[in-house]
């Protein structure tokens, strides 16, 4: 039986090459290096050649452009990874991490790495990027001075900032402002020192600089322009203490980040005698070849054929494509690129594109400025009306449309184009008006024509699919909005009715299916699919999109349409998402987590002890969640019933952490204990959680109740949030934390307990009835409008409020604890086994290792990488 269980897919590894394959050595695995490898793979070269990569950093290529999201959006180093899963293994690429090239011998055609490794190459590609320039100010080596270029830099800054209160960034350009945003995010009092008379001197003009300065200062960052850094002084402990500025003043600071520009890393090239530019950069021709035809240079280390060193990723990607094409024997060239940028600093909108400074002969500026709102918009137009470039500060809505129009005569007069959204622009001007040659995604150089072709010829129907076909939108993300609009208009224009259907099985939306189920009292998925599904899907298996959606609709309506409310009952069980099917959340190694409900976050010591005992007895990893309850991780599927038997016996119920359902109603301590509390927020949170527990919905539902306007429960970030007032309760709806945070809107004020509950009943049922699959209340509310929701649920404009209330009453009356009911029923319990033929044998692949006194998953060897 040898080998029969070998899960390695044969296709994943290329067959060994009989003849010696040519060797391509890539030095530098940064953003451009990785893009080069992908281009080699796309052209089939990676499979035929031996490819060796020398990477100086301790980790494979990552998204440097989004480095700051480590601080601003909580991204972890892994989230920034750029290499697709399994990529290196699939193409047999040899990646040497933490092993930089130290010498190149062009005569012998070898590269030597720091470890002593010597590799002979047929083709050498240098993609060594840049290093941050640190001006030669005295004291720049003091402890507490940093640069901002790599993940390691960020980790070092983060660690040091823990003991610091003030931070100063030297340099007020694009990266300097990002660094300032990061320091701010770390809780430091932040200064920016810029030598030029304004911020972002390269991208924006004087007016833009002023608006930008106002916005940056409003964020709490202190800006010093027109001054240089003269010296950095350290305290007696050798740590940075202050900075002396050229105007004679002194700026006390605990931490300094240099962001005064970058310089190409051309040292290897210099040492082996390749020509470099006067101000650095490896000289290459349009094909990205250096003076030695066996050596290419791409990305920020190269001095391109147009005499420039590009410090942006999009031109680097074009060079990567050109070099890969050349190596594959095809033709491609890189002769220059667009320098448009959009700043990603949290809270500041700045964009510049094309000839932002109006350097061209005879050009005119068209300006709009609203200093109070911090808005400044300038378009640079040639005498014949051609749009040459622009600067947008404070309102960059139209960046995605304006940038691609650069170089054309826009169909709308520039005076109209310059007006910001909502300032009475007379024409709604969308991407439909752009010419086919307009570049929509400048990161990947994708023109509108290519996007239209992806829709019309390759059958893409979403921006994500177009992204997979063309890469549009997969770089900095600044084109995402226009891309989405374009895909929709193209679909409509191509006469392909924009298919709003739920999936390949149903042409209806989720809301339409809900109405169908309710009106016709349909109680089975099979019936819905075979009678109302797309003709080609009838009689089929369905799919992983519509099954859970229909399961959720059936569960929401169960008491009303006369169905058992239990999600594991006949006809419903097979539809459930994996998590619902096991009433637990699957973790990365196939184990599950257990989350008992703790209404309002209130728990007795006895119950806490039970949770502790259960966790200890089953060896589970225990963590307090962000939702005021406790998550127990690492249960094997066959242990779930035994764990829950203990919890149910102690009075716990399912917390529905696995379902698209009500999660938690968080509370603050409220008037019972808090000196400021004006209502009993804990009691209300518990009441609401018990009322809506088990309610299945299009997406998860979260809530919170605060006892006064100080809002310790963060109710305004919840799907429905309640804040106590002296007269009762204010109800907020449509809040969201998560990926796209949104503050909730006030729906109604000073409600009594009964009024509050009635409004929430209506609101939730209206949402469940009309929202699309996986549409949180925030997105739904944005789509249908707060006024409409208020009309329907407060003023009963559709006359459906009685029905909505009845639906909720049915839900409340029909609620039963899913876990207690499961434990009582051998039929439902049957699925909780490790193996059908060895029900109690633990899955040998689910393993753990110790970590900080608890466990964490030991990941099995991944096959696709």
């Amino acid at each position: 039986m040898d080998g029969m269980d070998n899960p390695t897919p044969g296709a994943a590894r290329p067959a060994p090459q009989p003849a010696p394959a040519p060797t391509i050595v890539l030095v530098g695995h940064g953003m451009v290096g990785q893009r080069f490898l992908e281009a080699l793979a796309d052209r089939g070269v990676a499979g035929r050649a031996r490819v060796v990569v020398l990477c100086e950093e301790p980790r494979p290529a990552y998204d440097r452009v989004h480095l700051t999201s480590y601080f601003s959006a909580g991204a972890r180093p892994d989230d920034l990874a750029l290499v697709p899963e399994g990529f290196m293994a699939r193409y047999g690429i040899e990646l040497h991490l933490g092993d930089p090239a130290v010498a190149v011998d062009r005569a012998a055609r070898t590269v030597t790495a720091r470890s002593g490794l010597v590799v002979r190459y047929d083709t050498l590609v240098l993609a060594t990027g840049s290093y941050p320039f640190v001006p030669p100010v005295p004291g720049r080596d003091a402890e507490g001075c940093f640069v901002y270029r790599t993940i390691e830099d960020l980790l070092a800054i983060e660690a040091y900032a823990a003991g610091a209160r003030t931070g100063t960034v030297v340099g007020g350009g694009l990266l300097g402002l990002e660094a300032a945003g990061a320091l701010k995010g770390l809780g430091l009092r932040t200064h920016v020192v810029e030598f030029a008379p304004r911020l972002m001197p390269v991208q924006v003009d004087e007016g833009g600089g002023k608006a930008l300065r106002r916005t940056v200062e409003a964020l709490g960052v202190q800006v010093h322009t027109g001054v240089g850094t003269q010296e950095i002084t350290a305290g007696p402990d050798g740590k940075v203490a202050a900075m002396a500025l050229s105007d004679g003043s002194e700026l006390p600071t605990d931490l300094v980040v240099f962001s005064a520009g970058v310089r190409p890393r051309d040292e290897l090239a210099r040492a082996c005698g390749l020509p470099v530019g006067e101000r650095g950069g490896i000289v290459v021709d349009a094909a990205c070849r250096t003076a030695d035809p066996a050596v290419y240079a791409i990305g920020e280390c190269a001095l391109a054929a147009d005499g420039r060193v590009y410090g942006l990723v999009a031109p680097g990607y074009e060079m990567a494509e050109a070099a890969a094409a050349g190596i594959a024997g095809a033709e491609a060239s890189f002769t220059g690129a667009d320098l448009s940028t959009k700043l990603k600093l949290l809270g500041v909108d700045v964009a510049s594109f094309g000839d932002a400074h109006g350097a061209a002969e005879g050009c005119l500026d068209v300006l709009y400025s609203d200093p109070r709102a911090g808005i400044y918009r300038k378009l640079v137009v040639a005498p014949d009306g051609t749009l040459l470039g622009g600067v947008l500060v404070g309102d960059v809505e139209s960046y995605g449309v304006l940038r691609p129009l650069t170089g054309t005569v826009p169909p709308v007069a520039p005076e109209h184009l310059v007006l910001p959204a909502g300032a009475g622009a007379p024409v709604a001007f969308g991407p439909a008006a752009l010419p086919d040659a307009a570049v929509i995604c400048s990161c990947h150089n994708v023109a509108k024509g290519a996007i239209r072709a992806a829709v019309a010829e390759q059958g893409c129907t979403t921006a994500a699919e177009v992204g997979r076909c063309t890469r549009a939108g997969t770089g900095c993300g600044s084109c995402a909005k226009v891309l989405g609009q374009l895909v929709d208009t193209e679909l409509a224009a191509a006469g392909i009715a924009v298919d709003k259907g739920l999936c390949r099985c149903f042409a209806q939306t989720r809301a339409e299916l809900y109405e169908t189920v309710l009106a016709l009292r349909i109680t089975s998925y099979r019936e819905l699919l075979d009678r109302h599904g797309r003709p080609e899907a009838r009689g089929g298996e369905g799919c992983e999109v519509c099954k859970p959606t229909v399961a959720s609709i059936l569960a929401s309506l169960a008491p009303t349409i006369g169905l058992s409310g239990h999600v594991l009952d006949a006809g419903q069980a097979a539809l459930q998402d994996t998590n619902d099917h096991f009433l637990a959340n699957m973790q990365k190694n196939g184990s599950y987590s257990v989350v008992p409900r703790i209404p309002g976050g209130e728990i007795t010591p006895e119950k806490l002890i039970v949770i502790g005992e259960v966790a200890r007895d089953f060896g589970l990893y225990t963590k307090i969640t962000g939702g005021q309850r406790i998550d127990l991780f690492g249960a094997r599927v066959e242990q779930l019933p035994r764990i829950w038997a203990r919890l149910v016996a102690a009075g716990f119920e399912s917390g529905h952490a696995y379902g698209k359902a009500l999660r938690t109603v968080k509370s603050c301590v409220g008037s019972a204990w808090c000196r400021y509390g004006v209502q009993d927020s804990v009691r209300m949170a518990i009441d609401l959680e018990l009322r809506y527990r088990g309610l299945r919905s299009p997406h998860k539902l979260k809530s919170a109740v605060s006892g006064c306007a100080r809002e310790c429960a963060e109710a305004q970030s919840k799907d429905f949030g309640v804040i106590a007032t002296a007269a009762g309760w204010n109800l907020y709806v449509g809040g969201n934390g998560g990926a796209t945070p949104r503050h909730a809107d006030l729906l109604a004020k000073d409600l009594s307990d009964a009024e509050l509950v009635r409004l929430i009943d209506r609101f939730l049922m209206f949402y469940i009835r009309t929202a699309e699959r996986l549409e949180r209340t925030s997105v739904w509310l944005e789509r249908i409008g707060l006024d409409h929701v208020r009309d329907v649920v407060v003023h009963d404009s559709l006359g459906i409020c009685a029905e909505l209330e009845q639906l909720m009453a049915d839900h409340v009356a029909g609620y039963r604890d899913e876990w207690a009911d499961t434990l009582d029923d051998p039929e439902r319990l049957r699925r909780f086994v490790s193996f059908v033929n060895a029900p109690d044998t633990p899955d040998p692949t689910v393993r753990f290792v110790p970590e900080r006194g608890q466990i964490k998953p030991l990941l099995p060897l991944t096959v696709i990488s």
């Binding site: 039986m1 899960p7 897919p9 998402d577 099995p860």
Partner: protein, 115 residues
Amino acid sequence: MTAPAAPGSVQLLLPGGWFTACPVGALEPGRGVAVLLPEDAQAALFLDSAGAVHAIGNIDPFTGAAVLSHGLLGSAAGRPYVASPLLKQRFDLATGRCLDDEAASVPAYPARVVG
């Protein structure tokens, strides 16, 4: 491990011959179960809604976790597949090929219900 199978048993064809997994009644239409194979290997066994049985490897090649048996079934162009519960890649139940990434696949085992 290869005792003569009772009628109604589901069997998987392994290199060493037919392997009896369980009675067909142990399966839930539209879902899967994990089967422990010799030498600690494991398969994911499914009963589709038309009553046919299918078996593929249980290890999801994208994560290395043994979870495919817990995934949801669907069909594309009339062919049944399972969607991995972790990162949702789909695998054809007849061939084990991944429908979302040409380079990935899992073993496929012929399966039958003994008459």
